[in-house]
Amino acid sequence: MTLAWAEVGEIAARSLGVAGAATLLAALFGLPLGVWLGSRPRRGRMGAQVVLYAGMGLPPVVVGLLFYFLLSRSGPLGGLGLLFTPLAMVLAEAVLAFPMIAGFTLAAVRVRAEGVRRLVRGLGGTERQVLATLLWESRRPITAALAAGFGAAISEVGAATIVGGDIRFHTRVLTTAVVLETRKGELESALALGAVLLGVTLVVTAVLVVWGERR
């Protein structure tokens, strides 16, 4: 093991931070969209459903490449100087997590929409209250949606490499570090980093599940 554990901790913390921020950003837009679409009649949501479900298969490298051209100094948003920064990774990974969160939320809300709407409207509630109730009633499957989004963000390597650049102490995350160690032939280090990655994912998912299952 050529990697110091202090540095592994630093890399793991960045992985957690970047993927966590990406998940939150994706949830900020994905949850409302998923709830709204899930509460629509079938005709009004099928197109969006196809786009979201297909989006779950977005190749990270392609998303990374698009963000590369977008954020490059020679690109349209080059002036922001975001390429090869953790924020660029957050943006790209949020795009990857977004279809997961919106899509799974939609699926969860859809099966509850009719009953909840009848109940809330019957008790004199507004359409806005219908959506709020749907969000809360779907919190358990939404937990799974968030876990899936986080998993997609923290486990991808294509976008992180292209827009992050695997810069030590700056944009190196667990997945890019695994690639680096593998490239160097340090397979034990790579494997240890992989185990840390699984551990981080496991802990975050456990927190989400426990939160979702509490009464």
């Binding site: 409207r121 019957g122 008790l123 004199g124 509630g125 009464r215």
Partner: protein, 224 residues
């Protein structure tokens, strides 16, 4: 008070059309008729939950509609009970204070913290009723509130409805149970194939129906 004029609602292969209706404040109306007659649709139109293709409905006061689902939200019994009040802007603490006596009366006081999904069918029916009654509505629309309940639970639900009526609430109740319609109603409407065949004070409609179809239905001679 409920007043409607020339309501028409069409679905593929079905049309509901009823003449002017009026339910004065404090009246208990029961709606009977075979399956597919349009009872639920009429109830939803009157409650304003569905838009008529033609005609209009006027509804005064705070109304609550209780459907057949007895939906139990994925929360505790207590949170289910306070849900209605909270929709109307009542703070959680105050809502808890108000629903507590109701829950005690319907025998759910020792299950406040349980998930509502763990309740039996009868308990869920009582919980759904408490959730609606706690709002203290002026008008109460009920769609088959005692369907598939055992006699004990039917009795408890009917008791709560009688009491609500005694407190001056207007009630429109759809039921398959002719005895219940007669027991509870002051006025009964008989609905068949999307038309109101007869509406009359309940005793009279059951004892001396004017229409042949009504007579056949209340005598149990109509096969559907």
């Amino acid at each position: 008070m409920i007043r409607s004029e020339g309501l028409v609602r069409r679905y593929p292969g079905f049309e509901l059309a009823v003449e002017a209706l009026e339910v004065p404040p404090g009246r208990f109306v029961t709606v009977i008729g075979p399956s597919g007659a349009g009872k639920s649709t009429l109830l939803r139109l009157l409650a304003g939950l569905e838009r008529p293709d033609r005609g209009r409905v006027e509804l005064r006061g705070r109304a609550v509609f209780l459907d057949q689902d007895r939906t139990a939200l994925e929360r505790s019994v207590l949170a289910n009970a306070t849900f209605g009040l909270e929709l109307h802007g009542v703070r959680r603490r105050e809502a808890v204070r108000r629903v507590r006596p109701w829950l005690e009366r319907v025998g759910l006081a020792d299950k406040l913290a349980q998930p509502a999904a763990s309740l039996s069918g009868g308990e869920r029916a009582r919980l759904a009723l408490v959730r609606a009654l706690a709002i203290e509505p002026d008008v109460l629309f009920l769609d088959e509130p005692t369907q598939a309940l055992d006699p004990g639970n039917v009795d408890r639900v009917e008791g709560l409805l009688r009491e609500a009526h005694a407190q001056g609430r207007t009630i429109v109740l759809v039921t398959h149970n002719l005895y219940q319609a007669r027991r509870l109603g002051q006025e009964t409407w008989f609905l068949l194939d999307g038309r109101i065949v007869e509406r009359a004070p309940s005793e009279r409609l059951f004892l001396r129906p004017r229409e042949a179809l009504t007579r056949a239905y209340v005598a149990g001679e109509m096969v559907y």
